[in-house]
Symmetry: C2
Subunit: 291 residues, 2 copies
DNA sequence: GTCCATTATAGCAGATTCGTATAGTCGTCC
DNA sequence: GGACGACTATACGAATCTGCTATAATGGAC
């Protein structure tokens, strides 16, 4: 059974005569005739009665038509889906990401991305960076975003480095400084990430290097939590300038010296090539993370 | 998009290598190769990555596979349905029939008919004979069975004539006779069809011809109702020997003279050729009505 | 009877399909 | 590192299929 036969059959059922069906399909009447003859021969069904040079569909033709039309639609649908995939309107994105970026930046980028992709399905799994790094190897994600360092080096990985900024309430006396150093923060209540975090290590070294007293009053797991504590006046702290930006509205942000480096990476599963969709989204994400 | 391309694609997705897919489809490996290349070219999708002489399906291929498989199934289903139609296992029968035959004989024949036709859909519309005769012209039925006479002669019509039999309780004194005439029924309580029915006319003539008194104690619309009245001892009556047979179990049935003729007909719509299914069922019905 | 609309058949050119032969690529085993 | 095995890609030719034009055949309308 060939598709062209089914198309001719459908056109013929819909338009009554071979001549009209031929016009509709942009082919000649004899073409239709042989197609239908072939279909009848192959199915073994008498689809039309030839009465006085005219065609009359048999009850069998009407029964078969239902299935033929359904089959054609399925094929046409497959064709349409192929076009949607090609143009990037259809696909799915499964993303594993660490919390701070999952809360604001990623949803924002994804909804922007989905705007002209009507058939896009999105899945975001939020885990702490360590877990995200493990998940990458399960190959169940198109994409992952985690903070460095990585325990295992992953082949496809794109690193983004930031110098952390000092954040403090606008009303804070130090907010008038252009740049802040550990000296300025000697004994000042400070909100930081947990002791195990690279940020903690770097801050500890920085304060000790400057001979300043680091007055830690709160430790949090995420920058976003730290931001909120600072906003509430609990102390000052440092954040990355990009991912955490949405959380620092209403706070003063100043450069901090010495450099406290914060690194995140876009990770791609190694076994499989990324989908076009994933590549497109990475472009958008990359632009946002470079900003 | 050609079916063969989709078949090759499916086999390749299912079996991993072109070589194996080719074996499964009974064709050569280069054949698969060109088919896949054609499909990739036509859809514009990169379905497989060629890595070291091996194929690896892209995420796009996995997305497209779902639709491709669905389309193939739909076509294969159409093909199967065609075979079912050809072999008479699939189809529908819309039958209009008058009540007496709708109650027992038709359901019995239809369930027998359906036994080896798993996909048969049956519709029985029960109306009195006059309405059935009108319905035939609406062309909505494959088949109709009505009592004669017809108001309009219908072109396709097959008539069955019966001599009515006298029915009476086994305990009735007349049950010992081999044959019954109006003389025997002089003044005997009698159950008959309505006054408008040809049966009524014929009976009236018969009794008057024999100079016997016709003692009508009940008039019914259907033979089946009359049978039940006779079974209840309300009187004696006459019935046709075939269609009403299921209703006369437990009653004595004797030939009646003079002949009271009862005629029914199988009617076929004229505009359209009957389906193979309908023709097959008519064969069965004809055998039953001839018996 | 002639005209008109329709379907069917024949013959041909071009496209498609699919086989064989063969080359290229990569991993593995010795 | 070289031979082997498993796989894919390309070239080319034969067979088939497709779909065209030309034309015959049929039957209804006037």
């Amino acid at each position: 059974m060939r598709l062209r036969q089914l198309e001719c059959f459908r056109a013929l059922m819909l338009h009554g005569t071979m001549t009209r069906a031929a016009e509709l399909l942009g082919m000649s009447q004899p073409g239709i005739s042989t197609m239908i003859a072939g279909l009848e021969h192959e199915t073994g069904l008498t689809l039309f009665l030839r009465r006085g040079g005219r065609l009359q569909p048999t009850p069998e033709a009407k029964l078969f038509y239902v299935e033929a039309a359904r089959a054609l639609e399925a094929v046409e649908n497959a064709s349409r889906v192929a076009a949607e995939i090609r143009s990037g309107r259809r696909g799915h994105l499964a993303i594993a990401a660490y919390p701070s970026i999952s809360i604001k930046l990623l949803p924002r980028l994804l909804s922007q991305f989905a705007r002209d992709r009507p058939e896009l399905q999105v899945k975001i799994i939020t885990r702490n960076s360590a877990t995200v790094r493990e998940l990458v190897s399960t190959q169940q994600f198109d994409l992952a975003v985690a903070e460095l360092p990585l325990d295992y080096p992953t082949s496809h990985m794109e690193v983004f480095s930031y110098d952390c900024m000092c954040m403090l309430p606008h009303a804070h006396p130090l907010a008038k400084l252009k740049q802040i150093t550990p000296d300025d923060l000697d004994g000042v209540p400070f909100v930081t990430l947990f002791r195990g975090d690279p940020i903690y290590q770097q801050l500890a070294s920085a304060f000790s290097e400057y001979g300043a007293r680091w007055n830690v009053v709160a430790e949090t797991e995420f920058f976003s939590t730290a931001c909120q504590l600072v906003a509430e006046g609990r102390g000052v702290g440092i954040v990355d300038p990009v991912v955490s930006k949405p959380f620092t509205e209403g706070l003063a942000i100043r450069p901090f010296r010495p450099r406290i480096q914060y690194q995140i990476a876009i990770l791609s599963p190694t076994h499989e090539a990324p989908s076009q969709m994933a590549q497109d989204f990475v472009k958008l994400l990359r632009r946002a993370l470079r900003a």
